[in-house]
């Protein structure tokens, strides 16, 4: 079984650091890559199209390319329909959530993240 690779897309340095810290506490063999914005995240994904990340944790509020545009790009432009995406958002805008659900997401977590909630969620996803 190949290594579980998580791509965390988060613009806030503190949140990125703390979220990474929570993920790393999980008792799994996994690696975490991070992107500060949508463009960077897209580049990371496209760099190894043949071996994409196992899971993307995507903040919706991002500078330049927004989380929703990024998701649309992944799903439509690059036809990565199988790539699991978990959306993180501080706005509980039902329109955004609906849009994300239509494009296909594995889950939705509201920010600020509850460490226990995130850990539990990831555990169920990673554990086969």
């Amino acid at each position: 079984m190949r290594e579980f690779r998580i791509l965390l897309v988060e613009d806030n340095d503190d949140d990125r650091f703390l979220t990474m810290r929570i993920i790393k506490k999980l008792p799994f063999d996994l690696s975490v890559e991070t992107s500060k914005n949508g463009e960077e995240a897209l580049n990371t994904i496209l760099k190894e199209l043949a071996a994409p990340p196992s899971l993307v944790l995507l903040d919706l509020q991002l500078p330049k390319i927004s989380g929703i545009s990024l998701l649309a790009n992944i799903r439509k432009k690059y036809s990565l329909s199988e790539l699991p995406v978990i959306v993180l958002s501080s706005s509980d805008n039902p329109g955004d959530i609906k849009l994300c659900n239509e494009m296909g997401i594995s889950g939705y977590l509201s920010k600020p993240l509850d460490p226990a909630e995130l850990q539990g969620y990831l555990e169920t996803l990673i554990r086969p």
């Binding site: 503190d14 949140d15 703390l18 810290r21 929570i22 501080s90 600020p112």
Partner: protein
């Protein structure tokens, strides 16, 4: 149908009572009827008497003439002369028969037309005077009566007169009299009708004017130009209408002014309300973004506290660890406050879906969850069963969580902690209550209870955000109910609530969402 006949239709007696015109008409008609029938009767009676007298006079005159005429012939016994005299009488009109008798009463001469049974006859007899003294002879010559002494008579005559023509004449007279009466009556009724109409018309017109006035038409005028009492009445009536019209106009102007004032006032109130609502919305949205956006940095704070504790614990002494704990606890406290503020906002925004709820069951469920949270505490709950209310399940649950949470919190440290729930009648209202025997509070600070962040207890004593009761009050008032507390320090607190029992009581609170 002509108007006269219309009066005699059904309901005439009814009309007689209600219509002045009909009464007047009927009165005049009756008067005419009585007078004309009286006249007719008098006329007829007089005519009848005259005819009767005339016939009698004529009959007896004929008999007297005959008696004188045949005197000499009877005396001499000349039959031809007797018949000659009789023929003279027979030639007079209506004479049926003439008979002459001698002293012994034997018929000595008779002339007669055929006798008819269907005709009535009158008979007139007269004695034929014999030889008389000189004085009586003179009487006879000048046509006066000779005394009629039967001893002096030499015979008698009998003239029978046919009455049919006289009767026909009488009948004709009666007929004429009746016809005249009828004509009088007809003209009289017509005149009475016209009179009644002309007399009642002004009254009917006044009545119509009054009705129109009642229905709000003050432009009507009674147009009676006569100079009699009715004309005066119409004039007074018209001036009364004018007075009413002026007064109504004044009133309408005053009303219009009042209306304009009211509109202006409403405008002002609406403007103020809009401003207030705007300010309120701003405040609410500030509350929302503040409580929402502040949670992110607080979570970061907690995250770094964890990192510090986990990665640098061995490099810090007990004091350092204590500081980290204090930072962490303060952060958590702030988090709770922000969560409570968010709840306060959501309570106000929530779309209510009220239904019938068993409050007793909800109280039991909240009590169970409190026990589960702190199983080491021994608090006895006394819950009255089947207290039904009508409300939004989620909001009522939240209110109970806060109220029972308070009772639970403030009975901490009492070995005989007791929380009661039930309902009672108070001033005609059904009031639910939650009573505890906890710490209680000084009623002097009652006003502060329902304001957010106002706390009557030290945080070290009893933890809390200070928003709980504010949330409860908003929930209860959104349901159209009331909440108040009675407390005594060291004895306990009782919280009273009124809540709707059914949809009909669940009025204004529903629509006030977001205000």
């Amino acid at each position: 149908m002509p108007p006269i006949i219309k009066y005699f239709g059904s309901g005439f007696t009814e009309k007689l009572k209600t219509s002045f015109r009909v009464r007047l008409f009927a009165g005049i008609t009756a008067l005419i009827l009585i007078v004309s029938s009286g006249f007719a009767f008098l006329l007829f009676y007089q005519q009848y008497q005259t005819q009767l007298d005339k016939r009698k006079t004529e009959g007896s005159l004929m008999a007297k003439l005959l008696a004188r005429d045949v005197r000499l012939a009877v005396f001499s016994g000349n039959r031809d002369e007797i018949l000659q005299s009789a023929r003279g009488i027979m030639s007079l009109p209506d004479v049926q028969s003439v008979e002459i008798f001698n002293r012994e009463g034997l018929l000595i001469g008779r002339l007669a037309n055929p006798y008819r049974q269907d005709i009535s006859y009158s008979v007139f007899s007269e004695l034929i005077p014999g030889l008389l003294n000189r004085q009586l002879e003179e009487h006879l010559i000048v046509g006066r009566h000779w005394g009629g002494d039967p001893e002096a008579a030499i015979g008698s005559v009998k003239v029978t007169v046919d009455e049919s023509r006289a009767e026909a004449r009488l009948n004709k007279t009666i007929f004429m009299a009746l016809l005249a009466t009828m004509l009088f009556l007809a003209f009289g009724i017509l005149a009475a009708f016209k009179l009644a109409k002309s007399m009642s018309r002004p009254i009917a017109q006044l009545s119509a004017c009054a009705t129109a006035l009642k229905n709000g038409d003050d432009s009507v005028r009674a147009s009676i130009e006569t100079s009699d009492e009715l004309g005066d009445l119409a004039q007074s009536f018209n001036s009364m209408i004018e007075a009413i019209r002026m007064r109504t106009k004044d009133l309408e102007e005053a009303l219009e002014e009042l209306y304009q004032l009211n509109v202006a006032l409403e405008d002002k109130v609406q403007k103020r309300t809009d401003q207030l609502e705007g300010a309120n919305r701003e405040l609410e949205s500030f509350n929302y973004s503040a409580s929402h956006d502040l949670r992110a940095p607080l979570t970061r704070l907690a995250g770094f506290c964890d990192a510090l504790r986990e990665e640098y614990a061995e490099k810090l002494d007990a004091q350092g660890i204590h500081y980290i704990d204090r930072i962490s606890a303060t952060g958590e406290q702030m988090s709770r406050v922000l969560a409570a503020l968010l709840t306060l906002y959501q309570v106000q925004q929530r779309e209510m879906t009220p239904r019938s709820l068993d409050l007793s069951e909800l109280v039991s469920a909240v009590a169970a969850s409190l026990r589960q949270r702190e199983p080491e505490r021994d608090v006895s709950f006394i819950i009255q069963e089947s207290v039904m209310i009508y409300g939004d399940m989620k909001l009522i649950w939240l209110a109970l969580e806060n109220l029972l949470g308070n009772a639970w919190k403030f009975t901490k440290g009492r070995s005989d902690a007791r929380i009661e729930f039930g309902k009672m009648e108070k001033n005609g209202d059904t009031v639910c209550y939650i009573r505890d025997n906890g710490a209680g509070f000084d009623m002097a600070y009652y006003e502060k209870l329902f304001q957010p962040f106002q706390r009557l207890h030290n945080n070290d004593e009893f933890q809390g955000t200070g928003v709980g009761l504010a949330i409860v009050q908003r929930i209860i008032s959104r349901h159209g109910g009331r909440i108040w507390l009675e407390s005594s320090e060291g004895v306990g607190t009782t919280c009273y609530l009124t809540l709707p029992k059914g949809p009909e009581e669940h009025g204004a609170g529903l629509k006030g969402a977001g205000r």
